[in-house]
């Protein structure tokens, strides 16, 4: 060994290159190992969270998803279509699913209530949620919203049960017209299809309103086909006679 030591001493270029290479490899292996070994648990957590959110929006207890929900995917015309990924998996990249014209529906097998996923943009980052409609495809049974990074205490209030409670009982149709829900700054004061905006969270509120309108619009044909079903059958029998 020279008197300068390994690779020419602690501050030689060779030592620095060697040191950083070894360090980066060790860190990469460590992170890859952590990520891989925890991946299954994380995905299971996320899947459970989505299942719980879906049933919670209907007002059901956690863990009931598997026994009450039937999930399927519809297209813009409201017809059930087959997809390679399951409806639950679609929730992991909902914007892409909506862009592809594939809209997941989670139906309560006994009551006929449906839960629809929502996706949109808040002030800082993505917001999303689930909205549960009664069997009339008009009255909101419950709504759940969440966000990636809205300001705590301000925009993030959309994720609180207190805020979400005001959606219950609202209707999304004005006659035949799908109007969604208006999020009104200064307070809805009992107006139809309207809820209060979040104080100090105007941009998040605007994002919430857009999200509900845009996403429900995709299901318009589906809602109409559901409510029109008995009539359509009557017409068919008449024609058959």
């Amino acid at each position: 060994m020279s008197k300068k030591g390994f690779l020419g001493g602690k501050n030689s270029n060779a030592y620095i290159v060697f040191y950083s290479t070894v360090m980066v490899i060790i860190v990469a292996v460590l992170l890859a190992f952590t990520s891989l070994s925890l991946k299954d648990r994380q995905e299971a957590n996320e899947l459970n969270e989505k299942k719980d959110a879906i049933v919670a929006s209907m007002g059901l207890a956690k863990g009931t998803y598997d026994s009450v929900i039937e999930a399927y995917v519809v297209n813009k015309e409201g017809e059930v279509i087959n997809t390679t990924a399951t409806p639950l998996k679609k929730l992991f990249d909902l914007p892409a699913s909506f862009a592809a014209g594939e809209y997941p529906v989670f139906e309560n097998k006994t009551t006929g209530e449906v839960v629809l996923p929502l996706t949109g943009k808040g002030l800082w980052d993505d917001i999303w949620g689930y909205i549960a409609l009664g069997a009339d495809m008009n009255t909101i049974k419950g709504a759940i919203f969440d966000h990636a990074g809205e300001t705590p205490g301000l925009g993030a209030e959309i994720a609180t049960p207190k805020y979400q409670a005001q959606f219950q009982g609202q209707t999304i149709y004005e006659g035949e017209q799908l109007v969604g829900i208006n999020v009104v700054k200064g307070g809805a004061q009992g107006a139809a299809h309207s809820v209060d905006a979040v104080t100090g969270g105007t941009k998040t509120s605007d994002g919430l309103e857009n999200m509900i309108k845009e996403c429900l619009k995709c299901y318009d044909a589906f809602f109409k086909s559901r409510t029109a079903t008995p009539e359509a059958e009557v017409v068919e029998t008449v024609n058959a006679e």
Binding site: K10, N11, Y19, V27, L38, Q42, A148, P152, G153, T199
Partner: protein
């Protein structure tokens, strides 16, 4: 445990508090303290990262080339934060959701790099570990105090539970909206520093 080693744990809790005396980590003290729970979990996460980054870098201190010293520190801290984030997501999913972006922001917390530079690189592993724990807890304590005041007066709740009774609101009491905004944290930090200096007279500039 020697008295001096022990002091590296207790000093940053009060006398040499990272937020109150070293004025480090102010940025995140403003961001995560609107509510008590994220403030508490943030304090604990920072304690974990600060303790382990101090320990690891103290073990490595004799081999780190001077010219890439800061880069090595950043790589170690960033790797630790990533691991903490992954572990939180896997085992305490709801808490990690509560913290969201703030976990990643621990990387940029000045306390952690400040302690590595000022302490771990020139001290043995054990005192460095204790110094990391002490500074993390000192930071967490200030966060919890600010979070307590801001959530109580800003939302009337603590840990999300209603504290201020409904009858107060009916009598005309209103929550203080300023408490929900970052400037209120600065004002509270200022008040805490004032009280702290009144008690520790040797900190007062002549």
């Amino acid at each position: 445990m020697g008295n001096k080693t022990f002091q590296s744990l207790t000093n940053p809790l009060a006398k040499n508090n990272p937020v109150l005396v070293q004025i480090l980590g102010i940025c995140s003290a403003l961001a995560v303290t609107t509510q008590l729970k994220p403030a508490l979990v943030m304090g604990l996460s920072v304690t974990a990262v600060c303790a382990f980054s101090n320990l690891v870098l103290s073990l490595l201190r004799n081999g780190i080339p001077d010219r890439i010293r800061i880069i090595v520190q950043l790589v170690v801290i960033a790797a630790l934060v990533t691991v903490v984030n992954d572990v939180l997501k896997a085992y305490v999913y709801d808490v990690s959701k509560q913290l969201s972006v703030y976990v990643g922001l621990i990387i940029t917390n000045c306390i952690i790099m400040g302690r590595v530079e000022a302490f771990a690189l020139s001290n043995k592993p054990l005192p460095s570990l204790l110094d990391g724990i002490g500074n993390g807890l000192g930071y967490g304590a200030v966060l919890v105090i600010i979070g307590f005041v801001r959530e109580l007066f800003g939302s009337g709740t603590l840990f999300g539970y209603q504290i201020i009774p409904e009858s107060f609101y009916e009598a005309g009491y209103v929550n203080n909206g300023l408490m929900l905004f970052p400037p209120s944290a600065l004002i509270i930090v200022g008040i805490i520093i004032w009280v702290h200096r009144t008690h520790n007279k040797d900190l007062q500039e002549k």
